[in-house]
Each structure stands twice: as C-alpha cells, then as structure tokens.
Amino acid sequence: MDMLIQGFSVAFSPDNLFYCLVGVFLGTLVGVLPGVGTLASISLLLPMTFYLDPTTALIMLAGVYYGSEYGGSTASILLNLPGSPSNAVTCLDGYPMAQQGRAGVALFMTSIASFVGGSIGILLMMGFSPLLVKIAFSFGPAEYFALMVLGLLAATAIAQGSPLKGIAMVVVGMLIGCVGMDISSGIPRFTFGNMALFEGVNMVILAMGLFGVSEIFASANQLTARLTAKDITLRSMLPTREDWRRSAPSIFRGSGIGSIIGALPGTGATIAAYLSYTVEKQVSKNRRQLGTGAIEGISAPEAANNAAVQTAFIPTLTMGIPGSASMALILGALMMHGIYAGPSTMTDHPDMFWGLIASFWIGNVLLLLLNIPLVGIWVRLLALPYRYIFPAVIIFICVGVYSLTYSFTDVVLVLGFGLLGYGLKLAGYEPAPLLIGFILGPLIEEYLRRAMLLARGDFLTILQRPISGSMLLVCALLLGWALYVTWRRYRPGAPEPLPTPAE
C-alpha cells in the first residue's frame, strides 16, 4: 500500500500528470484516425522521450498505448473501420448499432466498458503480478499451440451464417498469414519476389482493408448522411437501463478474460477481444442477437482489450519480455535510458514501477472524462454527408498505411483487401473469421513447430502436458459437439435450415 501511495505521489507530479494527459489524448486521437496505428505513433514519439525523465517517458508512451484502445473503437462503431486490429471485433455489433441510430449509446458504453476493463486489469496487476507471471511461465510452445487451436475453433463460431463459410474464411485467413519469410528456415513464401512482402502482410492493413475500405466501396452509392442534426439528442446517446443491465455481466467476463490473456506474452489484446466475444456468443442470454447490434457484443470485447493492454505490462516490466510489438517499443524506450526491465524492476526502480501503475489509473480516469463529451462530437460526424467523409477516410488510410513502412505495396494491398472484402460481402462471407485465421494461423504454425523441435518430433508430449493436453481435449469435445449438432440438423428428414441473408 505504501508503495502505491508513493506511486501516486510520483504520478501526480505536474510533469507526469501533463505527459500522461498528452499521452492519452494522442492515444485517443491516433486510435480514432484510421491507419495511424499505436505502433506508428509510439515510434514517432519514442525519439522525443530521449529528452524526458524515464518515468515520465514511460507514462506518456503507455498513455498512447492504452489510450488508442479507447479511441480505436470509435471508427469501428461509426464507420466499420477498426482503428486497430483489436477493435475489429467491435465492428461486429458496434456498426449495426450505429446503423440503427444507436451510435451514441455504443460509444458511451464502450468508454464505460473500457474504463471498467482497464481498472480491473490494473487491480489484478497490483495484486496478482507474481501469480500471473507464474501462469505465463507455465506456458511453453505446446501450451500456446493448444491455446491458439482453441482460439481458432472459437473463430469459426464467430461467423453468423453457414459454418462452412466460416471455416472457409478461417482457412483463407491462415493462407494470407503464410505470406512472408518463414522464421525457422528463411524461405520466402508467396512473396512473388517482392521484398515488401518479406515480413508478411501487416495485420493493420488487412483489418482496415477488409472492414473499412470494403464498407466504403459498398456504400459508395449512398452519398447522403444517415442522420440529420435534429436526431442527435442527449437522450439518444445515453444507454437505457436495459443496456446497463445487459452489459454488466459481459463487461466482467470480458475483463477477466482480457486480464489473463494480456498477461501471456505472445498473445495480446486482439486475441483477448476475439475470445471474449466468442465466450459471449456461447454464454450470453442474448447470444442470438450478437452480430446484429447487441450491446454485449461491444461491451465484452472492449472490456477485454483494455484489461489486456494493462496486464500486458506485467511480462514486459517484470520479466523484460514484451507481449506485442508496441510493448517491445516501450521496452526499447527504457533501454534508451539504460533501464533493463527484468524480475528486479520492482525492487530496483520502485518509483518508476508504482508511479507507472498509478498513472494508468489516472490515465483511465482522464480517458473517461475525455471520451464521454467527445461522444456527442463523434455522433455529429455521422450527420456529415458521406461524399465528404469517404474521400477523407480513404486518404487517411492510404497516408497512414504508407507511413507505416514507406511501402507502396502496402497501399495497393489495403485497397486490394478492400475489393476482396467487398466481393466477400456480396457473396455472403464474413471478414471476422478471416482476420482471426490470419492472426492465429502463423502463431499456430510457429508454436507447433517449436514444440515439435523441443520435443524432438514427439507429438505425444503435447498431449501429455497437463495444460496443453486439457485444452486440446476441450477442442476435441467442442468439435465433436459441433459435428453432432450439424449432423442432427442436416440428417435426412431434418427440417431445411433457414438460409442466412447476406447482410
């Protein structure tokens, strides 16, 4: 407790408070702007931190990191354009809500869910860091492999319509994930000799193309605004009692899932958001409405990804092991100041460690204060005619993508994925399972091969290890259940299943 009080005194120093505000404000901004990712903005700010005190630098960079998770959902809800990959899930229900005129409610609830998720993540981080480190350490390649298989199986459940189409999308996603240099042999796969493809397709590019650009193509014939200014009242923005009641359990489930997934290095906020959405799909009372604008569909993943970005600091700060590319950058910022994060960070730099944790909380409060009034402004954006919004968004996307790697190929790719997404939409395929296949496919391959290498090619070891074995058993049971249900539905004499509409 003393430590935490000391931490708050560090975090409340005028300098740290100012840079915390700068960080979360910039984070919200880059989260909202499609194409300018967290990674790019932390990269841009990193050189600046050279001139700051390490704790202050870390507070600002961390603010950008978790701030962008708040902002990232805004464009997902308003324009079906995920600001970052972890917000792609929020499109699934957030965008339908906006189409139903409930964008304000969705944005409001997102801020609340993010705040609760973030706070729970911080609490767990303060109380259970050593335990979470222990869990993370018990995860070897075999366990990660089993976890990813479970996630992949869950991905097919995200699909609304035909499971066959869902599986097809997952497989296509995995294929796209194969692009690039193979990490253990250096063999370039599907690169067509183009050096820009050597490190694979960037996840941000795929997510923006499939969700956002395709949406713009699809609604290019609809150039008038969806809302008129008089539709926007304060009342229409506040969640109803019903919304609160339905969201509460989802937020807590999401926070719990997010906290644990976030602490595992090598997973991250995106997988946390997907898993919590899948769990909602199985356990929520309103699971049938998910995908059509159900409030659970935004509160669970938003709570999860914000909880995950907080607990992601546990492996980074306590072991020096970053869970994501953005975390690696933050670790790099510490190295610039000659601080090597490791098991002794807490004892060697207690001011920094506890000051940072205290700043997380202050940052989350600032974000809440910042985002609630912004809801009204964002919703008014929808009142703008689309002939102004669309060209601006396309330009933002192209400039943002180009700024990532200075690669023209990436700009072509994002537009290409937009076309692909449009085609899939016309044919009634959904982009969400494709994205999760893309994320998990390469990880499954990497961990399976590593587990096999470490076990000298003995597959049985994966089944014998308690954690991976039980996770694979759950997979087998789920698969068996799904097959059984499918067989019952399609067996001769069963009633014809209703065709699912393309939208």
Binding site: S43, S185, G186, P315, H337, G338, G342, P343, R450
Partner: protein
Amino acid sequence: MKPLFLASAALLLFPVALATAQDFPSQPIHIIVSAGPGGSPDIFSRTLAHYLTERIGQPVLVENRQGGAGNPASEYVATSKPDGHTLLAVSSSLAFNDALFPGLPFNRDSFVPIIAAIGSQQVLAVHPDQPFETIDDLVAAAKASPGTISVASPSWGTTGQLGVLLLQDEADIELNPVVYRNATAAFPDVVAGHADAIFVTLSAALPFIRDGALRPLAVTTPERAPSLPDTPTFREQGYPGLVWEDWQGWAAPAGTPQAVIDKLNAEINAVIADPGANAQLVEQGFVPLGGTVAEAVALVDASDALWRPIIVRHNIKPE
C-alpha cells in the same frame, strides 16, 4: 595533348572535390535503420545522431525503414546519392548478407563502411537447473545423447544462429537448434526451462544473468567481457574457433567521396570519445568501439571470412 587535358581536368575537379569535403554536410544527414525504434541499431544510431548533430551543425536524423529482413533499407541506401547525406546502420551481417539472400540487387561492395561504432558479444547461457557449468560439460552431454540439448537462437540468419552451427562443427557434436522469431520471443522459453540453452547477444541476456534466471557458460570475445568478468571465454575453455566480435556501425553508398567518409569517421570517433556519449552507450549495454575506416573494413572482412564458409557448408539459403 590528351594527358595534358586530363591533368587540367583533374586540376579543375580538384577544388570541387575539396569543396564537397569542406562544405559537407550541406543538408541534414539521414541515417536509415532497418530495425524499428527501440531495436539496438536504432538505439545506438540515435545516441550517435544526437551528439553528432551538435558537432557538425546539421541535423542528423534517424529514419526507420522496417521489414523485408532489412533488405529494403539496404537497397534504399545503396541506390541513394553517394554524397554522405544518406547513411545506413549496418552490422556484421553486411559482410555475408548476399550469401543468405542470393539475387539481391546489392552486396557488401555497394557500401563503404564508415566506422564500427560499437561492439557486442555473444554469450552461451543455460537455464540454472541445467547441470552444465562449462562448455566441456555441455559437449560431454551432447556426445552422450546427440541432438537432445535444445539451443535457442534469436532469429534466422543472425550470428547467434550461425554460432550454434559453429559450436556444433568445432566440438563435433549434435545439438537441437531452435530458431525463434526474435530474441524477446526466445528468452521466456529458456528462462521458463522449455528450452535448455540460448546463444544470444550479451547485453540482451545480462539482466537475466544478473537475476540468476540464466547461467552464462562462455562468451565469444577474445578476452573476458568487462560486464561479465567471472565468465570464461570459449578460447579459455579450449574452443579457439569460437572467437568473434560482433559490431554495429554506419556505412555510406559506394562512390561516396573519400574525404566525406574520412570527415564522418573523424566526427563519429570524436562523439564516441565524448565522455557523455560514451557513458550513455555503455549504459545502453553497448561496448563503444570506434576506430579508423580501415579497421571497419577489416572487421567486415573478418566477419565475411568467418561466416561465409559456415553458411555455405550448412547450405543456409532461403531457397
């Protein structure tokens, strides 16, 4: 008439060449780094750039061009105007990159090394529960049951991965090399005991070693590393083939005037000698090196001579 013409042409050109060196730098200098911000090439480049800016009166800017195993960044610099205003952050792999990636439009002759600014050592470390205390212990265990000791290396084509192969050749043993995506992905597996050992840059392993999460067996430097005085070298333990020093520095596109190269070399050496910059580099985990252009070229040659045969012998090629 011809020799006279040439001589006069040379005379005419001479002041021009002189002018380039004197006026250099006439515009901001861009350092192209193929790693992302926060990677070790980025950190040392930014530190040098910061101090260099104060010395030479033009901003020195670090630009990150990530991706493509570093090749797009190299290609960009190789085709830049060779006037010293666009430089590339390079490492030992400059020497043998073309052996790993045949068919690229550039090789080591497309660049002129300016300086080897910092050195870095590799360390072979094991999980503390492993019984090995020396390289001989490890070699004996590997001889007893070939292919069972897993050695993690940070990523494909690095001297860490090649070092595992070199150790196998020198000690005539068979290990189980496991290549990771990057060093940060490799550490958790070794620290948690999923892999037995790791061959990696010393500065990255140092925090784990200090916390007792890894036990160092040997370093690759000719003499013991100052940051790890109790750990013997490979040479001390009877493996003289496993002696090398990795380095990182800056290079210019081939064709850059010698005077510009010399001026940059002198200025960067002055930065490295600056107590502030030197202390900062040491704090960041680097070993400040510096030295003449000829010494940098010699280091490139040494890396080439050591690693190219291993790449060829083990047929390490992406195709």
